[in-house]
């Protein structure tokens, strides 16, 4: 099991994951991150305003292994 940390940035608001979660491999961490990004966006996007929600997965030694960005454009 490896501990991964999931930091998020929503515009200017940054959430640094201080605790992390253990996953058997990077694939399962990525799968969990994808579901989380969508669920975070569902809570966050409540008005027709541009939003940029970013999630990075990093390891304990602060190495970023994946980044997902969800962009919501109101046109």
């Amino acid at each position: 099991m490896t501990r991964y940390f999931f930091d998020t940035r929503d515009g200017d608001t940054v959430f640094e994951d201080l605790e992390g979660l253990e996953f058997p491999d990077i694939n399962s961490a990525e799968q969990a991150a994808v579901v989380a990004v969508l669920s975070i966006a569902r809570d966050a996007i409540v008005a027709p305003l541009d939003r940029n929600i970013e999630m990075s997965i990093r390891t304990g030694d602060r190495k970023i292994v994946a980044t997902y960005t969800l962009t919501f454009l109101a046109r």
Binding site: F6, F15, D17, G20, L21, A32, V35, A36
Partner: protein
């Protein structure tokens, strides 16, 4: 001396006043006590049973799997609850039940429960009420998952569990047992472990809860109620009012 059935009586009395005779009838139900290791199935979907169980110690949950293997935990059960009371009248289980920590359960034969019900309308009434309240909790959880934000869902469940444990006298210093993994909590509120983990850190950061070693301490009940959009009316307790923790 305390008997296993005491916790069941405490739960039943929290939702309805029972005559001495009704309490004696319930106390007289034969009960086989068994201990289950963490994560063990109690009964599986599709199974037919000849008994109902009550949780004596620990925490249990129901669960269902979708066709592609995703799990939902539609309900949690604390000591005194009788999760599969429906099996008394429905031929097979439409959900599985599993213990979510090491737990002790008491099994009561259907035949004995039917007999107890035939002896007293009060006993029938209180067991009926248990299933009605279970349905009320389902409606609340459905609303929770369908309409509330993730932080509200989680705060709501933390409030609910506080009130349910308090009803059976198992809240100690604003702390109760919540030996769930973040995966299980995610399956209960319909999101991923990563989002649960983030929201738990947010609730901690706002000094609403402290959750460690399977014990949850409510630090600020008034604010947790507000965040969770929680009103205990649906639990139909005789005296439901989560007391304010912050003085």
């Amino acid at each position: 001396m305390s008997e296993p059935v005491d916790i069941l009586l405490r739960r039943l009395k929290s939702i309805m006043s029972l005559s001495d005779r009704d309490q004696e009838i319930i106390a007289g139900l034969p009960m086989e006590v068994k201990t289950f290791a963490d994560g063990t199935d109690i009964v599986r979907e599709g199974q037919r049973t000849e008994h109902c169980f009550t949780v004596l110690e620990g925490l249990a949950g129901s669960y269902k799997f979708t066709g592609d293997g995703n799990r939902q935990i539609p309900s949690l059960y604390v000591p005194g609850d009788v999760p599969d009371l429906t099996s008394l009248h429905l031929s097979h289980m439409d959900t599985g039940y599993r213990v979510l920590t090491r737990a002790t359960l008491g099994f009561m034969p259907h035949r004995a429960i039917h007999e107890a019900c035939s002896m007293s309308y009060g006993v029938t009434g209180v067991l009926w009420r248990v299933t009605l309240i279970d349905a009320a909790i389902f409606r609340e959880w459905l609303t929770n998952i369908g309409q509330r934000s993730t932080i509200a869902r989680l705060a709501h469940i933390f409030c609910e569990m506080y009130v349910r444990y308090e009803a059976v006298g198992l809240v100690d210093g604003d702390t109760y047992s919540l030996p769930l993994t973040q995966q299980e909590l995610g399956d209960a509120i319909g999101t991923s472990t990563v989002h649960v983990n983030r929201v738990v850190q947010e609730l901690r950061g706002r000094k609403l809860i402290h959750w460690a070693d399977g014990r949850l301490k409510v630090l600020n009940m008034m604010d947790l109620i507000e965040v969770g959009d929680f009103d205990p009316a649906y639990l139909h307790l005789s005296h439901a009012s989560p007391k304010a923790v912050s003085e």
